[in-house]
Symmetry: C2
Subunit: 171 residues, 2 copies
């Protein structure tokens, strides 16, 4: 990690900052979406026989929570969300957390991730994530923590594309 810190130039710091900023931008778009309508609205499917918005909210929370151990930052805050929102498809579990609970969880994960991210150096972002061995990472240094962030930013965009299909006139 140290030698990667050494070579972090001003331009590397800038590029890492850009990737982080775009993560935060898409994260805020999700926040804004779930603050836009009354809670009932989010119980609709985004398309016929597809997931409901409330399920996708829990799914985004679970995937973002999983970044904490994947980036080597600590333990998941909501480990019980994986079974409900990653393993199980929507409508297979009788009771999901309510919208107010999910909003609280989203804020909690975001707050924690933001704190962790703000303390990470560019060298840490360029270090391996926890799902790749040191040997494999030596062969493929692009499988670093920044790649996880790029991937998860696009994951937010992907589900945002689905969420916006729900419009009030359809409710």
């Amino acid at each position: 990690m140290e030698n990667q810190n050494d070579i972090a130039s001003a331009s590397t710091i800038q590029v890492v900052r850009q990737v982080m900023n775009y993560w935060a931008d898409r994260n805020k778009a999700v926040t804004d979406y779930f603050n836009k309508y009354a809670d009932d609205f989010y119980y609709q499917e985004v398309a016929p026989n597809r997931s409901r918005a409330i399920y996708l909210f829990g799914h985004l929370i679970a995937i973002n929570d999983a970044m904490i151990p994947l980036l080597g930052l600590g333990e998941k805050l909501l480990p019980e969300y994986a079974a409900m929102f990653i393993v199980a498809p929507d409508k297979s579990i009788a009771e999901l957390p309510s919208m107010p609970e999910l909003k609280k969880s989203w804020e909690k994960i975001n707050h924690t991730l933001t704190q962790y991210f703000n303390n990470m150096s560019p060298g840490e972002w360029l270090d391996r994530h926890m799902s790749i061995s040191p040997e494999d990472f030596r062969r493929d240094p692009l499988r670093n923590k920044l790649n996880v962030l790029i991937n998860r930013t696009n994951h937010q965009s992907y589900h945002l594309g689905q969420l916006v299909l729900l419009k009030p006139e359809l409710s």
Copy 2:
């Protein structure tokens, strides 16, 4: 541009490469999606009263084409696509290009962008894009070409999220 090239360290080159790789990855996911089913399949709406997959394909072509002038690389290859696929919403224009035509256009834009991208130095990626003035760029150096690429990668992810809602069993 030259002084930005000067400070491009090995780690900057790597991070720019990661952003480019992820662009190519999501671009390939779009290609794979439109090669997966028979042409008729893509004439379905991704959700009730929403755009058809064929329209979203043209839209992705138009937005990617617009990157060429935005990145200062040259002129659009398909300037007529903007009116059909950005300005006009789906189902407002009687005749759109056919799926085989759109596939040819997609390949053409991708081929051209790939060639341009492969010739761009990290310093060029960190230079301003063509929609920001040199003065504004001095105040906000994150509004560079790399930011356009990050944004357009997420744009592909956003519409991929919508496209995958169409499944054969719904047709």
